[in-house]
């Protein structure tokens, strides 16, 4: 069975600092991986996805993620965060077309 673990429930960071949100998955087969963002009182919005090809995936709002098959990880990174990046972030893995989500990581950007 596939599952997703987000290793940090909350990540506080100062504005303009770099950030990494960690995600590990378990799967015995090839996977498709996703990161979604949820701003307060909104639905989820796709940040980026890995389906195949280059292991470094670039998404919207300056975010990127790296697929690491040997470590079964798909960590999300941004070199310099803004206050507006404060949100909850979800990692997800596909399972026969359905997405299985991690527990979420709250990114708190402080001025």
């Amino acid at each position: 069975a596939q599952s997703v673990t987000q290793l940090d429930s909350q990540v506080p960071v100062f504005e303009e600092a770099p950030v990494e949100l960690r995600c590990n998955y378990s799967s015995s087969v090839s996977v498709y991986l996703f990161w979604y963002v949820q701003y307060p009182n909104q639905g989820l919005q796709l940040l980026l996805k890995y389906l195949s090809g280059s292991t470094l995936v670039k998404g919207i709002n300056g975010f990127e993620a790296e697929f690491n098959k040997s470590q079964t990880s798909f960590h999300l990174r941004k070199p310099s965060v803004h206050i507006s990046d404060t949100a909850e972030y979800f990692c997800a893995v596909s399972r026969t077309g359905k997405l299985i989500f991690g527990q979420g990581t709250t990114l708190q950007v402080k001025p």
């Binding site: 639905g43 989820l44 796709l46 077309g97 359905k98 997405l99 991690g102």
Partner: protein
Amino acid sequence: DVKVTQSSRYLVKRTGEKVFLECVQDMDHENMFWYRQDPGLGLRLIYFSYDVKMKEKGDIPEGYSVSREKKERFSLILESASTNQTSMYLCASQEDSDSTNYGYTFGSGTRLTVV
């Protein structure tokens, strides 16, 4: 852009009531999903549908049912609401399972409180 519309942003219902949560998408997507979102638990799949009149149980279907009479509409039904069903409910649509896109489009969510 695909739009997924959930009819209510906030709902307050009494224990034992039958509750209907409605979701409509406007891009002819085949697949639709209902998740509930709880702090520390992420999103958990309740039910999904790959076609009209088709439904399958997700990971936590107990206490819920669904209806898909038309392709664009997927309703979640709480047969007899209980306080442990207080949660944020998110609807999503997906083009189809074979699409290389695989991405979901989410609605804005319905925050249900059962008192």
